[in-house]
Amino acid sequence: MSKILKIHGLEKTYTSGSKELTVLKDINFEVGRGQTFSIIGPSGSGKTTLLGLCAGLDQPNGGTVELCGVDLSTLNEDERAALRNQKVGFIFQNFQLLPTLTALENVSVPLELQGNRTAASRAALLLEKVGLGDRMDHYPSQLSGGEQQRVALARAFCNQPEILFADEPTGNLDEETGEKVIQLLLDLNKDAGTTLVIISHDLDLAARTQQIIRLKGGQILSNQPTSTVDYE
């Protein structure tokens, strides 16, 4: 299986005053195309920082990130943005919809950025698929949390990404709604054959992916197939 994400010797430190804080240290792993993947760990373990680096939202202090066959360190900010637009999808804990855009507009933006003339019709199709066909003209503030996350799902799959990053996708939802959203995410992912990287501290959610990385104190504790993980 070819690799869509290759992480090698990744390091990230932050400077706070005169102190240097190492958030990630010597991170190495690879994700195969079409694989579902979880990164789990307690708060402060460096999960979100790792996701930011993998998706090219931030730059590491050391090591390399190869996303979709491209070494991210060779790209500038705009080139990384273009890569994300073409090949990456995102789902966030707090949905991150654009508050001034309707559901339909939110979903169509990634395709519009590509200059795709069928953006609106594809966005409408996806909204129908996530069960929001009758809420297309609603603004985020007029939608419930679950509905907002479904719009975010539609947006994430709109540009047919090669890889999708989900940061605590159910973190702001109640259990029932969260389950519905996760099922939808996994269904959509299966249909599209997208690589899925989920960041969560929810072990049940992680268990539904094929591979799990455990992070602690900025280092990888384990990286193994879900079937071999000892949940005790």
């Binding site: 939202l57 994300r84 637009n85 540009n159």
Partner: protein
């Protein structure tokens, strides 16, 4: 294909800008309104200036009444008369100041008598009531009298006017004469009489101030040749030639200065609006940073994110420009009304393209320019914000400096374009920058001081109110700048008006002159003195006056200096007829700066004169320099013996040249006497007697002059008030804009407080305290800055002691603070009326 992608890319940017603006259009409109009034002011003044220039050019002949005119302040000598005869004058005039009496009610008044003959004016008209009054007076000996004067003295056509030795019937009132405005005739109103009766008045005696004018109706004349050949000839003979073109040029320059002042006042209003734009866009963009990070996360480039918001700002700038320009066009009709008293003609209103383009362009440029500082943040915001807020990259120092340089450069270029003078433009930019910096520094200092000396034991409402002044997204700096600038402008206006009025003020003591009697011939001195004393009034001064002109300065002939283009001696020195005096002591208003005062002339030495410091500077003379005067045809050699400082601001008789006793006693001379009238009635009675006894004596009533000065200042301050209105209203809009921009944050905080149990009264108190602090500090700073600048004006420019008016402190300070509190409280009206849940949902 690429082109298509580019077009669709640009289209998408506009679409995104529109989508994003939909939810915030009321706020964007409020940003826009910050600049609308400033643009309106600039456009209306620009249009007015253009109209004025066009009118002056179009009406140049009507302004003069002729194609060209030759002027001289003495009876033309042989050479001048030859020129006049050779050019064949079509009309002539002699004008002089004189007292006149109205037998109907025994009224007396100083007037400007204009004796006219010929068909003047050849262009424009002398407007009279009845319409044929001027033609009537030319056919039969009569007078037309200034309309206001007729009203003041309740006179009607058919009544009579006594001018010197003759009494004429009044044929009507004169409403307007080519080339003169309402203001110029306020001190000495005009009375027109036929030229042929002037001699019979017996008023043109030695020492009388008079002016002869010869008007020419020659449309085909080569005016350039006249200016180049004839004018220098006349100049040498102390005469002058003016063409309608040169007069309109001079007039244009004079009103250009007025235009510059009005333009700058308008520009200040616009700058204030710019502060509003910068501050409002700053908060607006801050709220958008999260959305921009999301956009970048899903693939938008830095340029695209920046352009979306740039398009929004440019659009509101453009709209502001269009609306401001439309208001400016509507307002331009008011400006000629505001300036009516200062204009010698009716300004015909028209619309020219350039001010319209300026207004719209200015709206666009100024909005984008001042929004650049906050806008640039959109370029630098990191997509990582979607994961962790507060991680946005900082704007580089280089980018900030570049923007500051661009803003300063554009402001300088625009100011230079308005003023057409690099130094003045630089001074203006520095002055405005300094004022902004002081207000900004004071606001920052206040926030630091409150933080440092925070009253931890104060009441809950006091602490919350004070906290609001320096917590994130506070509006302290922008509100203090807006309030401070507005208050500064109106306070400066009041203080300056006070200085100007106190300058013309008359001390009401018996020892200070308030009546000056000019042109008293030596044989009339006794009679004049008796007349004054018989009215129970004192003789305060009896000063002899001898008129003379400069013949040579430092051994250089004045006639040579007039044609010497390299000389730096001021021109007026070479053409001026000096009214000098002689005495043995210094006056109270004088002080010797250099040399020694000579009381009595030593016949063995050259005459040592004393000159004023301004004359020494303009004539480039110092102690010991030789000066030759032409005293009525006799040359008199003198040297500068001393240089005096003279307090010209004193409304008493001051002289630039003073001779010692013992030299001019036998020269042709006349006297000036001063006296003090305790009441206007006493003054009027004495004037009636004086006009009867010695009609040629001119009486200047300083009380009337003071009234005229006050009237002029009131009219000027009306114009300044009119311009300040733009700044004040803009200040209020910026205030409302700034307060509204932080509305949702304030509401959320107030609702949280309410949820936790705060009463409406407490919330009101917190808000009122916050805005009252801002109002009082902003207005106090504005008044203090105005106090400093007015004090400097009084000290350096007017050289007057400065006693500040109480009005800014007693009226502006509380009034502005209350307005600020009202605007602030209006912001939380929703919170007080609605339930916390309702408001929280709305705010979400």
């Amino acid at each position: 294909m690429n082109k298509l992608r580019t077009i669709s890319g640009v289209f998408w940017l506009f679409k995104m800008a529109w989508r994003d603006a939909r939810a915030s259009y009321t706020r964007l409109l409020l940003f826009m309104s910050s600049i609308v009034l400033g643009i309106a002011a600039v456009v209306s003044i620009q249009l007015f200036s253009e109209n004025l220039t066009n009118n002056i050019q179009r009406q140049s002949k009507a302004l003069m009444g002729a194609d060209f005119v030759i002027e001289t302040d003495q009876v033309p000598n042989e050479d001048v008369q030859k020129v006049i005869d050779s050019l064949n004058a079509d009309a002539s005039e002699v004008s002089f100041l004189s007292m006149v009496a109205f037998p109907k009610n025994n009224g007396t008044r100083l007037v400007n008598v204009r004796g006219l003959q010929g068909a003047f004016p050849f262009y424009g008209t002398i407007e009279t009531q009845p319409e044929n009054a001027y033609q009537q007076l030319m056919q039969q000996d009569a007078a037309v009298v200034d309309a206001t004067l007729l009203l003041q003295y309740q006179l009607q056509p058919g009544d009579s006017i006594k001018i010197g030795a003759i009494t004429l019937p009044i044929a009507g009132s004169v409403e307007s004469i080519p080339g003169s405005n309402a203001m110029s005739s306020s001190v000495a109103p005009t009375v027109i009489i036929p030229y042929k009766v002037v001699e019979a008045t017996q008023l043109l005696q030695y020492g009388s101030r008079k002016e002869y004018k010869y008007y020419f109706n020659q449309p085909e004349a080569d005016l350039q040749a006249l200016e180049q050949i004839i004018e220098p000839q006349l100049d040498r003979q102390d005469a002058d030639l003016d063409t309608h073109v040169s007069t309109s040029r001079r007039l244009g320059r004079r009103y250009e200065n007025v235009g510059n002042f009005l333009n700058l006042a308008a520009f200040i209003a616009l700058l204030l609006g710019c502060v509003g734009i910068a501050s409002s866009v700053n908060i607006y963009i801050k709220e958008k940073l999260a959305a921009i990070a999301v956009l970048k996360c899903i693939g938008a480039s830095r340029k695209q994110s920046f352009l979306i918001y740039l398009i929004q700002v440019a659009t509101i700038g453009l709209l502001g420009g269009i609306i401001g320009t439309a208001i400016g066009v509507a307002l331009q009709g008011i400006i000629p009304i505001a300036l009516k008293e200062f204009l010698p003609f009716n300004v015909e209103i028209g619309i020219t393209l350039q001010p319209l383009i300026t207004g719209i362009g200015l709206g666009l440029i100024i909005a984008v320019l001042f929004a650049l500082i906050p806008l640039i943040k959109t370029y630098y915001v990191s997509p990582l914000e979607v994961l962790r807020s507060g991680k946005s990259s900082k704007v580089g120092v280089g980018a900030q400096i570049s923007i500051a340089i661009i803003i300063t450069a554009v402001l300088f270029v625009f100011t230079y374009w308005l003023m057409d003078d690099q130094l003045n433009a630089l001074g203006f930019i520095l002055g405005v920058g300094f004022t902004f910096l002081i207000l900004l520094g004071s606001a920052s200092l206040m926030m630091r001081l409150i933080k440092k000396y925070f009253p931890r034991n104060g009441t809950f409402t006091l602490r919350q109110g004070l906290l609001n002044l320096y917590r994130p997204n506070n509006q302290t700096i922008v509100l203090i700048i807006a309030i401070g600038i507005g208050t500064f402008l109106i306070s400066t206006l009041y203080f300056t008006k006070d200085i100007l009025l106190s300058k013309a003020d008359l001390s009401e003591t018996k020892s200070t002159a308030n009546l000056i009697l000019l042109d008293v011939q030596p044989d009339q001195v006794n009679l004049v003195q008796e007349t004054i004393r018989s009215s129970d009034m004192p003789i305060l001064d009896n000063i002899p006056l001898v008129t003379m002109r400069l013949h040579s300065i430092n051994n250089k002939l004045v006639s040579d200096l007039r044609v010497d283009t390299t000389t730096t001696i001021r021109r007026w020195i070479l053409n001026h007829e000096f009214r000098t005096t002689y005495r043995d002591s210094l006056a109270d208003t004088e002080q010797i700066l250099q040399g020694e005062w000579v009381a009595i002339h030593n016949p063995l030495e050259t005459v040592k004169i004393s000159i004023s410091d301004n004359l020494a500077q303009d004539a480039q003379l110092t102690v010991g320099d030789p000066v030759v005067f032409n005293v009525q045809g006799v040359l008199m050699e003198t040297v500068v013996g001393s240089i005096r400082q003279v307090d010209w601001t004193n409304l008493q008789l001051n002289f630039s040249i003073v001779f010692p006793d013992g030299i001019l006693e036998n020269a042709p001379q006349f006297n000036v006497l001063t006296t003090n009238a305790a009441t206007p009635d006493q003054s009027a009675r004495m004037q009636q007697k004086m006009v009867q006894a010695v009609p040629n004596v001119t009486i200047i009533d300083l009380r009337q002059v003071y009234d005229v000065v006050e009237d002029i200042l009131n009219k000027v301050s009306w114009v300044i008030n009119f311009m300040a209105f733009f700044s004040i209203l803009t200040g209020i809009i910026v205030l409302i804009g700034s307060v509204r921009t932080s509305k949702y944050q304030r509401i959320k905080e107030s609702v949280l407080l309410r949820t936790m149990g705060a009463s409406n009264r407490q919330i009101l108190k917190i808000t009122a305290f916050e805005y009252f602090s801002l109002g009082i500090l902003g207005s106090l700073l504005g008044i203090l800055l105005a106090l400093i600048s007015s004090y400097l004006l009084a000290l350096l420019v007017f050289k007057e002691p400065f006693i500040p008016s109480i009005i800014p402190f007693a009226v502006f300070l509380p009034a502005i603070s209350i307005i600020v509190v009202i605007i602030g409280l209006s912001n939380i009206g929703n919170v007080l009326k609605s339930s916390p849940l309702e408001v929280l949902r709305k705010a979400a």
